[in-house]
Subunit: 543 residues, 2 copies
């Protein structure tokens, strides 16, 4: 704990050079605080710190206001000196934070279409809307996400409560249920969540991304809500026309049963489970190696697990597992298998059984699942040869979490829940690429009428006219110029896909008419002022 | 800097009692880190710290992993010891963070209606959608908000970039324009922003709240976009039927001109401006006292300012100010007055001049405004005597900010902008209260048809039937029970406002029909299975 510098009054003039030093130090060692823990820092950057320390003699009359003991505090101190941006504009990089992006108007149109489609499906299934804050008390999120907890964004302690940005929409939902003592609810929630993942943007993964969740909370007869969740996933993935897809299904209790009958000690269930979860990206050989070499599992146990987790199939595999001499001895596994059998029965009635695969390798990362789990993957190959295949991983997933609400309830009262989450961002990548490939053009505005003039000094008339259109609910634009050229105005309409133009000039004003022009056909007709709105509305309703 | 404790390995068992001590210390002194700065802490809580320090003998074999020097670090250390929630559930308060709230399904319906109305107005005026991340690089937000900068939420430094939650949607828009070198754009943006204000929730103010922004960027002929912004505010406030309203208008250049001709030194412009800004909450007498006693302004200067800033009126006041012997000597003021005169001309053409008041006391807090500024206030008194008047302050505001984009551009290139922001939260409070007063009932789901049965063992038939309805796009629900009671099912429909019920039982199955029941009239008709979907769609299109 000897590494560090003392901070003298930040207002002292000699802070200028110190600050530059801090800056160059920060940049030479990469991102200000990306390095790691303090002890490592001390070893790695001992020399740099010493230099820094040497520079900082206490200026006469300055007051020591604190000691900097961590790398991040130094970065902050550098900021606190308030370098004016215009003083060093050349160092100033304008960007969005790592792993985030702006959505352009074109992207917004596509995004809105996808979300509208998803939400209308949720509403078709009787869900109510719900919204929760972007951040939660930090303690609400602890012990919910297992190994992923390190990816939670914390807010800085600025006084008051310790807060974290929400990591998913499921935990806030469970917190809402417990807080309001709600025992039964079918809700949807569309909102952003934040995860400090290493972004691989090419795969459609971001640190800020939108989730569309549907969940059913309450004590019901088994597997009916679970089956509806799978039906919803099918409706959405079919509706979005993303190509062929498959939904893998498994049950946490079956996985635990497999580990138990293979002799895995219970303390290793989580670690082995997270190895199994990698089977969609790694070969069994590599996963087996991880289990044995890294996680210390006996080789014969790993082999036994391998016999199970490499199986996948339909309802017949459920039957086969029921007959398995070892697994059929395990109570948990039997419960899981019984539920899966019932689930397949309902899926058949819903007409979607052929989209579902019982896949024993499916494990799902999050800690809170307790029963059925599922994950939808796209199977499609690009329609065009020149289109690059896009690895988007799973596009929707979910499962049953019967214990999560109880974690929030002071008396531990449980509310069983099952739900699903649609990964809009990944779907968005696919749709965006498809549109690029097909060169689709999207209108980013909905303007129906443009108010134009061929003459100078007609701004006043244009303003009066457009106010009439707006007040009639017609979507209208004009050029913010006193004297625009007619050609410029007509070009704008063509570029923006605006279907109608109303033209007012001296001639029209004299005759008490307005010219109505169709942009596509270039036909023009004169219409009396009082009939204009009605005529426009008629034209728009016809198109 | 002597206050503090050393942190020994967090895993050491003796951490239990230490942690409890830290907790009780935190709770007895209010929120963990709300108290203040470190030196104050040392004085206030010296005794408590000493006790703490005394408790902490280095346990044999434990490693010192750091020193805690601030109150907030202590709170964090307490968290880091990972007390399992179920170990002390009784201390565990389930809540949303201070100043935030969940939106219930009923609130969501109201919220969505308001936002839909606002967005449709923005689209009527030709705006494109845009979205930006919830957080920005911290440096993007510095020096944009004046005195309010302290209210920005920073994210914790977890390695990598230093980030802050967005404080409004205007600065991210300016950053977007500069980053993408966009010189012209009309965009809307609906999104949450975060401000660490002392929440007075009764007035509809939150720390997380939704803003609906419309902005026009680009070099245009003067006051045309500005007038459109005011037109949009009028359309929205009229459309939402919030009662009578008024939009105050002023110009930053006129204010600066007033200060100059009253003899205020330029260094005091900002301070005096923020005093003027308080005239909507304080009397002139109190504001004058603040100027003289707190901000050191000469009494006669304050009196001269008072003569101006207590004026408000229509376009005639603009003319009057043009004739003012002192103000008419100030170049800036003349520019502002000239623009306001033009603005009023356009507002008259738009038919909204009577809604606008030239109010010399309007100042607007944010630093970035450079020209016209405006703020809409509701004038309505409650319709019913028993309804409490709700002080919601301004419900919409905005102005011209010609310098903000240039602050982001490496070469300082300017893009003039003007825009407005609708305070949905405040409008929401009003609409919500109105609905409570009138006892309005809102449907929180859109379900059109309920699939019911009067008999046991009809789950399979119900599942097949409801899948047909879903696949036809009909919004349908059923009870997640094997054998629900018919009465329960019908009651649910009445409670939820579901208009139609389809009933299937043995009789119907035998005859190949389904009973279709209207919940309102309780009339039932038998319909053949193949005609069911068509009949339902016909009924729904008629209602």
């Amino acid at each position: 704990m000897v590494l560090g510098v003392r901070l003298y009054s930040a207002l002292y003039p000699s802070w200028g050079p110190v600050c530059l030093l801090l800056r160059s130090f920060a940049s030479c060692s990469g991102n200000p605080a990306s390095c790691c823990t303090m002890p490592q820092l001390g070893l790695l950057h001992g020399r740099a710190w010493a230099v820094l320390f040497g520079q900082l003699r206490r200026p006469p009359g300055a007051v020591c206001i604190g000691a900097v003991h961590s790398h991040s505090q130094v970065a902050e101190a550098a900021l606190a000196t308030q370098l004016k941006p215009h003083q060093e504009k050349s160092n100033f990089i304008i960007k969005t934070p790592k792993g985030t992006r702006d959505l352009s108007p074109q992207q917004m149109v596509v995004r809105e279409k996808i979300i509208d489609m998803v939400v209308s499906c949720f509403k078709r299934h009787g869900a109510k809307g719900l919204d929760t804050p972007a951040f939660e008390l930090k303690e609400m999120l602890t012990e919910k996400y297992g190994e992923d907890s390190g990816l939670i964004y914390d807010l800085k302690d600025q006084g008051g409560e310790l807060l974290s940005l929400r990591y998913d929409l499921t935990v806030p939902f469970a917190r809402y249920l417990a807080m309001n003592k709600v025992k039964k609810m079918k809700r949807y929630h569309v909102g952003n969540v934040w995860r400090r993942e290493s972004p691989t943007i090419v795969q459609g993964r971001y640190r800020e991304f939108c989730q569309c969740d549907f969940d059913i909370a309450g004590q019901f007869d088994p597997m009916i809500p679970d089956a509806e969740c799978l039906k919803i996933m099918c409706e959405i993935l079919s509706g979005l026309q993303l190509g062929d897809f498959l939904i893998k299904v498994n049950d946490r209790r079956i996985l635990d049963g497999i580990f138990a009958v293979c002799g895995v000690p219970e303390s290793k269930f989580h670690a082995i489970c997270s190895s199994v979860d990698k089977l969609d990206k790694m070969s069994w050989k590599d996963v087996r190696h991880e289990m044995v070499a890294k996680k210390g599992l006996a080789a014969e146990m790993a082999d036994r697990i391998g016999d199970y987790v490499q199986c996948h199939g339909g309802v017949s595999l459920v039957e086969q597992m029921f007959q398995d001499p070892r697994l059929s001895q395990n109570k948990q596994a039997l419960e899981g298998l019984g539920d899966l059998k019932l689930l397949f029965e309902y899926l058949t009635l819903f007409g979607i059984a052929e989209k579902i695969s019982f896949d024993l390798s499916l494990a799902r990362g999050l800690d809170y699942y307790t029963g059925v789990i599922y994950e939808a993957v796209l199977l499609h190959t690009p329609a065009h040869a020149e289109e690059e295949p896009l690895n988007v991983g799973s596009v929707a997933a979910g499962g049953r979490y019967d214990g999560l609400v109880g974690m929030f309830d002071p008396k531990g009262h449980k509310v069983p829940c099952v739900g699903l989450s649609i990964g809009v961002e990944r779907i968005f990548s696919i749709v965006e690429q498809r549109m690029k490939t097909f060169g689709e053009n999207i209108r980013t505005t909905e303007t129906q009428v443009f108010v134009a003039t061929p003459q100078k000094n007609f701004l006043q008339e244009r303003l009066k006219l457009i106010a009439e259109l707006w007040d009639a609910g017609i979507k209208a634009e004009l050029m913010y110029k006193n004297n625009p050229k007619l050609l410029t105005q007509l070009h704008y309409c063509e570029n923006m896909g605006i279907p109608l133009v109303v033209i007012i000039g001296e001639q029209e004003l004299k005759e008490g008419v307005i010219k109505l022009r169709s942009v596509a056909s270039r036909e023009e007709v004169a219409i009396t002022r009082e009939n204009l709105v009605a005529e426009i509305q008629k034209r728009l309703s016809e198109s």
